[in-house]
Assembly symmetry: C2
Homo-oligomer: 278 residues x 2
């Protein structure tokens, strides 16, 4: 038996300020979250090559995370040699704009990308520039017109549920754009900032930013409350839907099922996600 | 009568991220908040020279503000020519790390520096690095040891009231170090960050950062709860008091009396502040 070949799957919980990154996904010559964390993990575990990470949400350039989850399969020997100090060492090696919130072996069947029950994103909009907070400008869209949350919440109700979100997605060859939105609503925080909470089993590319863009024009009264629902029903990419900037967006939480259901959930997700377009 | 000579005193309410500034006070060759705002105000009002600002709190390099107040005396003609658009124009000219929250003629007797009843500062400390928020790292001290707010609040009680704060101040020739601390307490916010609220009629240089430094060592159990009070009573600068870094500090609010009391308050403050050291 070759014990060198035994792998242990690690779960990493991460938070990052996306401002200084070209997104999550590693790209040659660019500073990416994946690249930085893979390099740091390889260094701390003294791996011969960087550990490869699989992630719950491939955030775009400028998008933040407070609840990102990733996994890496690393040689069991390397993990056991470092287990007592690995978390502290990795936190120490990472730059200030990426923080490690957890590092531990994952339960059997865990897959950061395919096991989630849902992902939750938040999007922050300040619509009263006289109260704009310069300290949070990198995570808040400054919007020059006042928005009505009542109007936006009313419009959002038509988007909740399982639908083909092709109208709000950048289409990818051979992948379904059917998603189940579990929650989509707006509330003001203590500072008066409008914060959207968007929960879905998964998201296609640009989906949250397109949904927010469609709701903002309703909020300021330029479109009727029924408009986002009609765009959805048309099920084709609508150029009238503006994709809002990335810096207001944050991956807030990824929820996984109990350990006993992880493998079944991953298998089901793979089956659904690869379904051909109708 | 020379109307060109008539001046109007403007009150400016400002918020800024201090990270990119060498503090408030203008210095040749440095990017300062005062320098940036004076230049912008001169441009918007088309003044022949930059307007000179007088400020409530001369924040140090790296210190933030959400409730800074300043005044400028500008030619009445220039103000009246620009009055309808000045606020919007100034907000547009200022960089993203300085935001204008108000611009209006000040009531008679108003003096941004000498009229305040009190100033309130906040100081943010994250003492659980596994929850550290990378998006707010520029306004939060990451402290490697857990702190007890009960211990800190107990110690802080001895510092409230009118005292000679020489032990917590950098001494300045010919200026009193007597201050009246109206409030000094700690609470955790929704994210578990420990936030100090410090209110005083005025502060001497480094005073909040020295008070916080003295309380943190009590919070982590390295000093007794009675220690900050004993340091205060000694009334000499104590090298055991560590001045904490500037980036956790924020000028949160400046409170002025009702208009009818502004001039009297300013006169009283000037009298007290210039009192010779006992």
């Amino acid at each position: 038996m070759n014990t060198d070949a035994a792998l242990v799957r690690l779960r990493l919980d991460l938070a990052y300020d996306g401002s200084g990154f070209s997104g999550w996904a590693a790209q040659p010559g660019r500073r990416t979250v994946q690249g930085v964390v893979e390099e740091a993990l390889g260094r701390v575990l003294r791996l011969p090559a960087a550990a490869r990470l699989t992630v719950a949400g491939r955030t775009d350039a400028g998008v933040h995370a407070r609840g990102q989850v990733a996994h890496a399969d690393v040689p069991a020997g390397a993990w056991h040699a470092a287990v007592d100090s690995a978390g502290r060492a990795l936190a120490g090696v990472l730059p200030g704009d990426v923080r490690l919130r957890g590092l531990a072996p994952a339960p059997d069947g865990f897959d950061a990308r395919f096991s989630p029950l849902w992902r939750r994103y938040s999007y922050r909009v300040c619509d009263d520039l006289a109260t704009a907070d310069p300290l949070r400008r990198n995570e808040t869209l400054w919007y020059p017109r006042r928005i009505s949350l009542d109007r936006m919440n009313s419009a959002a109700a038509a988007l909740v549920g399982e639908h083909d979100f092709a109208a709000f997605c950048r289409r990818r060859e051979g992948a379904t754009t059917v998603r189940r939105v579990l929650r989509l609503d707006w509330a003001r925080d203590d500072d008066g900032v409008a914060v959207a909470a968007v929960v879905a089993d998964a998201f296609c590319h640009n989906m949250v930013r397109a949904l927010v863009g469609a709701l903002l024009v309703v909020g300021e009264g330029r479109r009727e409350q029924s408009w986002p629902g009609r765009v959805l029903a048309a099920a084709i990419r609508d150029s009238a839907v503006r994709v809002v900037p990335p810096h207001g967006l944050c991956l807030a939480e990824v929820r996984y099922p109990p350990p006993a259901e992880l493998a079944a959930r991953a298998a089901e997700t793979r089956r659904v996600r690869s379904a051909p377009l109708a």
